[in-house]
Structure formats: structure tokens, C-alpha cells
């Protein structure tokens, strides 16, 4: 009797483990399918022409996505310029003043900001930048993406700096180095791997964002380097072309997806190498 029950429990144990392993690996299936699909369909579009040419009019063959690639890069740079310094500075304050009331509320604000839907940020950028400027622009798109990058950079900085042992800071101060210099010249460099991780993750995240760009960067059929003009971007191009009926455009969209995914995955890879190489062990 007891033996029968024991056998049942052993089977349940084995079965459970099998189910856990099965479901875990089933989760990989979508990822593999998506990557496979993108590469299979997108690789055909990839050519030198694809990277340097502008899109052709509706229904015509050929053309490329150069304006979307340049636009995406511009947007990410505009987004990073204000948000990286601001994010690091705020992260320093949060990690250095743990008991302060401002830290509590700021930390809360960071969490809320991180969870805010990207479409809401898009509306905010529209109200704050597009309307006063009187037009759509790369600048407005960059601001929207920058607001989205901010919380990730703050958190990464805060968490990294919190992990650095206090003894490092104390040693520096004991040697007579002023506080601000201690932070800037000793602590920050020690945490550079974590902070870089935050920057890279947030860049990868916003590079693929479409919603906030719908009514800020707006899109451009031509190449544009002027920050006060609308600019195209990879996600926007994919969105427009994917929902169209033209097989030619679908082909381009797969190719653009390929480029975008490779970019995001490369950032992830770089991030891992950064962690490994630059991480300061304590």
C-alpha cells in the first residue's frame, strides 16, 4: 500500500520535472520561430543597395532603407544626450542618499516612469515638443525616446553604485580626496560596467520603439539630417510596410526587421562582453 503510494509520488515527481523542462523549452520556440522567419525572409533583401538607397515610390521595385537607418541612429543619439547624464546624476544621488525623502519619492517616480506605456510618452512629447515647436521633428522623437531611457539608466546607475563596497569610498575620502571627486573619479569608474549595461539596454529598448514616434518623428520619405524636420526610423518603416498589401514592401519590411533585430542582439552581446571585461570585482 505504502509502496503503491510511493510509486505514485515518484511518478508525479518525474512527471513534474518533465513538464517543467518541456514548458521551459517550449518558451524558446516563439523566439526561434521569429528569428528564423526574420532571417529567412529578410536575408533576401539585404544588399549594399538596401543600406544606401532611399525607398522607391509605391509599387516600384528596388530601393532601400537608408533614411530609416540614419533616422533611427539620429533618434537614439538625441535621446541619449540628455538622458544619460541626467540619469547617471540622479542614480548617483539615489545610491548616495538612501535615507533621504527625495530618494524615496524619486525612486518611486523612476519605477512609475519605467512602467508608463510608450504611447502615453508619445502623447506627452507631442504636447510638450511638437505643439510648441509647430511641427514634427527628429528632436521631438528623440525627447520621447529619451524620457523612456531615463528610468532604466537611473536604476542601473543606482543599483551598480549600491553594490560597490563602502570601503572604497571611505578609503578615498580618508586619503583627502574631496567627495565629488571620489564619486566622479573613483566610484563611477568602478561601476562603469553596470552603468554601461544600463545605457546599452535602454538604447536597445528604445531603438525598437514605434508608438512614441507615431506623432513625434512622424516619418520621412527622404533622407533628413535636420533635427527640426521629421525623420524616418526602422520601426516606423516596418509598421507602415508590414500592414500594406504590397509584397515588395513586405520584403523590405522583413529586411528592415533583420537589421533591427541584429542591431538589438548586437547591443545585447556587447553588453555581455562589457560586463565580463570591465566588471570590477570586489
Amino acid at each position: 500500500m505504502a509502496l503503491h503510494r510511493l510509486r505514485l509520488r515518484i511518478w508525479k515527481d518525474r512527471g513534474f520535472k518533465a513538464i517543467v523542462i518541456l514548458f521551459s523549452f517550449l518558451s524558446i520556440v516563439p523566439l526561434l520561430l521569429i528569428l528564423f522567419y526574420i532571417i529567412k525572409n529578410g536575408i533576401l533583401s539585404i544588399s549594399w543597395e538596401f543600406f544606401v538607397e532611399l525607398p522607391r515610390p509605391v509599387g516600384e521595385k528596388g530601393g532601400g532603407i537608408s533614411n530609416a537607418i540614419v533616422g533611427s541612429l539620429l533618434l537614439v543619439i538625441i535621446a541619449g544626450l540628455p538622458s544619460i547624464p541626467l540619469g547617471i546624476a540622479a542614480g548617483i544621488y539615489l545610491s548616495e542618499n538612501k535615507k533621504s525623502r527625495i530618494t524615496y519619492w524619486s525612486g518611486l517616480a523612476v519605477d512609475v516612469l519605467q512602467g508608463t506605456p510608450s504611447i502615453v510618452i508619445g502623447i506627452i512629447a507631442y504636447l510638450w515638443v511638437v505643439v510648441p515647436m509647430g511641427g514634427f521633428s527628429a528632436f521631438a522623437g528623440g525627447i520621447a525616446l529619451g524620457i523612456m531611457m531615463l528610468p532604466m539608466i537611473v536604476k542601473a546607475t543606482e543599483e551598480t553604485l549600491s553594490l560597490i563596497p563602502g570601503s572604497l569610498k571611505e578609503a578615498s575620502l580618508a586619503l583627502g580626496v574631496p567627495y565629488y571627486r571620489t564619486i566622479l573619479r573613483v566610484i563611477l569608474p568602478a561601476g562603469v560596467s553596470g552603468i554601461m549595461t544600463g545605457v546599452l539596454i535602454s538604447t536597445a529598448r528604445v531603438a525598437g520603439e514605434t508608438a512614441p514616434l507615431l506623432f513625434t518623428a512622424f516619418g520621412n520619405a527622404f533622407m533628413n539630417w535636420n533635427l527640426t524636420n521629421p525623420v524616418h526610423s526602422l520601426p516606423l518603416l516596418i509598421y507602415n510596410y508590414a500592414t500594406s498589401p504590397y509584397p515588395e514592401w513586405h520584403r523590405v519590411a522583413w529586411g528592415a526587421s533583420c537589421v533591427l533585430v541584429v542591431f538589438v542582439l548586437t547591443l545585447n552581446l556587447v553588453m555581455r562582453t562589457v560586463i565580463r571585461r570591465w566588471k570590477v570585482q570586489f
Binding site: P57, V58, G59, V130, G134, F218, N220, A221, P245
Partner: protein, 322 residues
Amino acid sequence: MDLLGAGATFPYPLYSKMFYVYWQKTGVKINYQAIGSGGGQRQLLNMTVDFGGTDAFMSAEALEKAPAKILHIPTCLGAIVLTYTLPGNPRLRLTPSLISDIFLGKVTKWNDKRITDINPNENLPDMNIMVVHRSDGSGTTFVFTDYLSKVSKEWEKKVGRGKAVNWPVGLGSKGNTGVAGFIKYSPGAIGYVELGYAVLNRMPVAAIQNKAMRFINPGATSTSIAARVFLPDDTRISITNTKAIEGYPIAGFTWILVFEEQAYRGGPEKKAKALAKALWWMTHEGQKYAEPLHYAPLSPEAIIKTEKIIKSITYNGHSCLE
């Protein structure tokens, strides 16, 4: 020199060709974003774009409320077709009451007696009709619902006309591209798009019974015939449900909207001049690109009225065209 426009998806294939050619010819980059006629009007009113594109002309009230006088410049004519995906690609005929009942959700199957009665030679399957409409604010929707309101009292009462309406049935897609894109891959789907979108994708279109009780195929000719009406000076007119015997019943102009006085944004005069020149080119040399893309070019009478309007675009009072 960069110009920015936004609006209707209806003429987008034509505009994208025209602006590409114009850029190669003159170096002027005209960036047109097809976000729908509603978007075109709104962004012009917000002064975030240099011109708007719309197939729904602005109402008198809307023009009253505008911050300054707005001009409608017609660029071409187009036909709105009913396109569908069915096995065997049948060429269907549809009547006005049938179309409105399909979109009201009263006719739900492809082999409904009313459809098979007027299409006796086609083998219609026992499939559900999947209605597809626009999810964004669309001039194409406006012209289509304007037509339906004219031919169906029930439609006019229940739904009415507008760039975005409360559709009784169906699902939505963004832009003419989205609707065509969805129908193309969905067996049993039917929706309304500009002719070019259906033809470029080799999708079948229905012949529609017009007011003269003839079944008319959409095309540049039948569209032009429908447009043979007296055009008011500001060119704001609806040409749906035409009385012309060979006219296609669901056709319309598409316009470019600009402010009459171009100094409103403090922009440079040369921009205003470039805009006027581009508009002149679009309505003259540019017209040759219309028919190959399945639009109808402007009639000579329409062009005369259009020229007057373009000449009335001013910068600080004097005309933008030398």
C-alpha cells in the same frame, strides 16, 4: 528646400510617384506622410505641416473655425471600389442597397439570395462576409459613407457620413494600404479602397449599379464622367451617386489644403513660392502620372478653376507665382 505634407492615403501612390519625380527634377523634397484625411486636416489646422491632403472637403463650419482662410486645390480624381477576396476571383455586380445592407450587417453570407440573384453566373460560396473598414480618420470613408447616406435612408439615420463613423459591423485597418492588405489575405473579406490599391494588388473589384440603373466598372473613364458636373469656384463638391449614365457612383476629388496667406507661420517666402510652384506642377505636368496609376486626371474646366486658386496663394499679400 523641404516641404512637409500629411493626409489622405487615397492619393498616396500617385503623390509618392509625383514627389519622387519632382525631387529628381528640382531637388525639392516633399515629404508626404499618409496618415489619413482626418490627420491631414488636423495637422494643417495645427500648423505642423505645410499642406494637408484630404478626400473629404472641409465643411463650412470647419472653415469658419479655422485660424485663417484655407484653400482646396484638387489634384486628381479617384474611384472608390468594393474589393473582396473569394475563391475563383469572381467579377461581381453589386447594387447600392446591397452594399449598404452588407455594411449594416444585414447581409452576412456570400451566397445570400440577393447577391446570387444579380450574379447568376458566379459560383458564390457559403462563406461569411467579413466587412473591413478604416480604423483611422479617412476621407475615403467620408466619400464612401457620403454615398451610402445618399442611397440608403437607413444608413443615413443609423450611421451617417464622416471621416470616422460608428461602424455597425466589421473590423478596421489603418489606411487604404491596411484595408487592402487585410482583404488580400482574408478569404471572404470585403471592403472599400481607392481603385489603384485594388488594381496594383490584382484584387477583383465590383461593378456598381449607378443612379441610371447601369452596372458601371470603376476606371479613369467612368470616374471622369462622374466628375462632369458644375464645379464651384472653390472646387468643394461631392460627386457620389452621379446622375451621369456612364458615371461611376463612388468617385471623388482629392484635394491639397493650404492656407491662402502663407506668411502665417513666419516661414520664409521662398518656401511659400516653392509650395505654389509644386502645386502648379502637380496639376499640370504631374497629371500625366495619374492614369497609369488608375486615377483620373483633372478635366480642363477643373484645371482652369485650380489655376485661379493656386494664383490666389499669397505671401504677405502678393501672389506666390510670378
